[in-house]
Symmetry: C3
Subunit: 366 residues, 3 copies
């Protein structure tokens, strides 16, 4: 069986990245051995010049041999890699322009909670110095966090300042059909420069963690940032909902890379608690891939799925969040320290350059 | 950190598709801004000529500037995109040749329910005008729906008219080993032109949503259509199983693209109910990717996993179906209207051309 | 809509592999029809020379037509494909050098269970004749299986003989922060040639299936093999844990391809039981993709998630394991025979060459 049958593309890519992007690694014999092994297994190194360059002995022709690894050169390579890892972690939480998911206060108009949302194109600093093209509600990625209560009358005035049509779907909220936000099925698209008003009563019995996002050209518009948390608080909270902090953690993997609340590590915000606190985390996946979120040091007690109570709470330390899903967990912060908290698809969280993307921390202070 | 570290390949592809496939978009300044932003972030636009072409100012050399966007040109571009979206939705449900998953009546021979299945190569119209090469049972993709009852004696006569060997595995059904359908482990492969008979008793206590599919060269054969629903009805149904409609929804993502019951939107069939109906949906994933299915307007109550009752029913609006899994849900159709019903991996459901693939609707009529 | 919109990359790849890698298939008219159909649908065959070569009539120019398929040539092609399938299955379980996940006996030092783990670079035979570059603990992929009991004092002496720094994280074990194994957050990296000692008490109430793995440059280091099972046995086992065999099944999809306990089929080890045995399987995913594991012939009863008891056991035949997750199941081996047991992402388990990767068997003997 040829080796490529056994090597997923992602693995091939990883090997190439290891061997091509880090010149200092070329002095380490492992890389050379790895490349040679691949060659021996039938992988044609000539098709991947980085691999060929990395091999100590070029299997094809008389390339000059790489210098032999010495303890000093190995240590220097390790120190160089480690310095990048350290730099990233020491930079956390890194300052960037813009903050998404900010709690939005409604205007109250005749007893109606009114939210004005303007969709526009912006530049967004996803991690320090990395400006990306984005589509945003009120200049935020994710858009402002909306929190209402069961039975509230709610009005959302959408103004479209994009250069394409749009519409808003309240994902998880059981609304009358004409408020569902799907162009050509429940409403016309909202054209550039135009507006549309969604008005509805937050359904009683439908509380919990929901989302709002574009439902027009949505793979692009949601991938670029047109999304936010829409939370319906219950009239009568359960005892387990009595927490010190209620955090929202929105995952995305579109054109801005792997992000938590619109930022990639080290620009992600840490979550904080005092020893003994119970906190709630509302996971929401607005991306196109699963993200199994892993918390170090403490477990999570899962209470809700898509806003609906699970029959009984259950425990885990790694929770798989699929696109469109919301999962609510309670964390009993009984272990002091700074705890890594990340997607366990390791390629969404770390490269040989250090941590990036879907990494944050839960800081439990004494 | 270079931007490509942050940009998953899928996102790069998406940006490229946005900028390359839609000439009319080139007049919209967003696209240009997006490309320019990517360039500014270190992405070498020369490697992606579409991006370079889309940029207002070519960062490399003296390319002629694209015409400036005006309100009129922006509106024209939005209208052009919207027209494609509207056309797709207005075409739904679109007529295509062939219908899969049709309930098959058995011949009764001496008290045995006999099903004749012929595997052959056909052309299949997956969406209007899109003919694809398929492998099918009895000319259907998915194959005919088989429904038996616990304790029934069942005979399946497989005739192989393919040009490669095949075999049928009853996925989820606990059969005697020699009926399990795995070539060289439980039987010889069924050669082109030859036949094989599976005969067994549908196990009591093993009722629910199962599947039948090829277990030989299966990545290809199942990807091309050799699959179907195999449902074992219980002798004594539970009260919750008393529904107005019992629908099967088979997901696939092989060589025919993203399909529901063998068709891509707008050729998918809508699911219908009357206001107040309870309906059952049996999700089955025959593909290689997860598909988190999201229903608008109403939630789903999950009752069974792989045919086995969950300890307690639980609620959600987005249900992640992994390859090989079956999940049964009950929907209380208490919200009238036409509701979008789709995979929430948005790239499986919508492009800038409009909805496609894993999209259908639940139509609740008053 | 162009066909490529409907065809996921994986499907395109699959079609190409079918048509390019198997010369004997070129005589089968299906392949030709498939290629022709794709061409007819607008896929430019000139960009995929394999497709063009496979088409009976080259759509571009006057290539010589392929010979017409005859019953004899079809049978010969089927026999050739089947021979490869048979060869793989008949080779199972194939001998390879090296065995991972071997239970490690601790040294007892003053009442402390001491485990010495040395990380080094090795060559690993992942399937017969396929040597790959690996990083391993004590020369094993996965590393030695560690089993302790709630309340045990445990010491792990890590020696780093790699050419890059490393560290060990006990995934799922709730330890004091300074034992958590995350460089620059909880400890300095362990440099090449250096050592680090982890010492802790296995937390009471935190029993179950956990893992140890590198948390430094982890996408690479875990992908190359620096991982193992870390099991904490409860002081008072539940009745359901009384089993004839307690198996660990670690999934990986990194640079070694798709593996179970470090080997690809047919070098994977079969799991065995006697008729009537109850066995436990501890699934652990150390890869970057989901793997929905499907057992033929019998169902699985899920008891634990990440070491924590589920509120109630529940049944399935296909269990989706996400990266970082552990799931424990009980199998009541009441059906004699050799049963296929594999990841149901079919591309992780079978190609037209036969089964490979994430395939093993459960052998229930009378």
């Amino acid at each position: 069986m040829p080796i490529e049958t056994l090597l997923p593309d992602a693995a091939v890519d990883l090997v190439r990245r290891v061997t091509s992007r880090r010149a200092f690694l070329r002095t380490a014999s492992f890389t050379a051995a790895g490349a040679a092994a691949l060659v021996a297994c039938g992988k044609d190194a000539s098709a991947t010049p980085e691999l060929a360059a990395a091999a100590t002995v070029d299997p094809k022709a008389g390339a000059p041999p790489a210098p032999a690894a010495t303890p000093a050169s190995i240590r220097a390579a390790a120190d160089a890699m480690d310095a990048m890892h350290e730099k990233g972690i020491k930079a956390f939480p890194a300052k960037t322009a813009g903050l998404g998911n900010q709690l939005m206060a409604p205007k109250i108009v005749n007893g109606v909670k009114v939210y004005d949302l303007t969709a526009s194109e912006i530049q967004w600093e996803v991690s320090p110095g990395q400006m990306v093209a984005a589509m945003a509600y009120n200049g935020q990625v994710p858009g402002p966090q909306i929190r209402v209560r069961e039975g509230d009358r709610v009005r959302i005035n959408l103004k479209n300042e994009l250069k394409q049509s749009t519409a808003i779907h309240m994902h998880g909220v059981e609304l009358p059909n004409d408020m569902d936000g799907v162009p050509y099925i429940t409403q016309p698209p909202v054209k550039p420069g135009e507006s549309f008003t969604y008005e509805f009563t937050a359904p009683v019995g439908n509380s919990g963690s929901h989302m709002y996002h574009s439902h027009h050209n949505s793979a692009t518009q949601v991938g670029l940032g047109l999304l936010g948390a829409f939370i319906i608080e219950p009239k009568v909270p359960r005892a387990i909902e009595n927490v010190a902090h209620d955090y929202v953690l929105i995952l995305n993997d579109g054109m801005h890379g792997f992000t938590i609340n619109g930022k990639g590590f080290p620009a992600t915000q840490p979550f904080t608690a005092k020893l003994g606190d119970k906190i709630r985390v509302r996971y929401m996946n607005e991306g196109m891939m699963i993200h199994p979120m892993h918390l170090h040091g403490m477990h999570m007690t899962v209470i809700d799925k898509d806003g609906w109570a699970q029959p009984q709470p259950w425990k885990c330390d790694t929770l798989n969040i699929a696109p469109g899903e919301r999962w609510d967990v309670i964390i009993n912060c009984n272990n002091p320290g700074t705890w890594a908290f990340h997607c366990h698809i390791l390629g969404h969280a770390e490269t040989e350059h250090g941590m990036f993307g879907m990494v944050t921390a839960l800081v439990v202070s004494k």
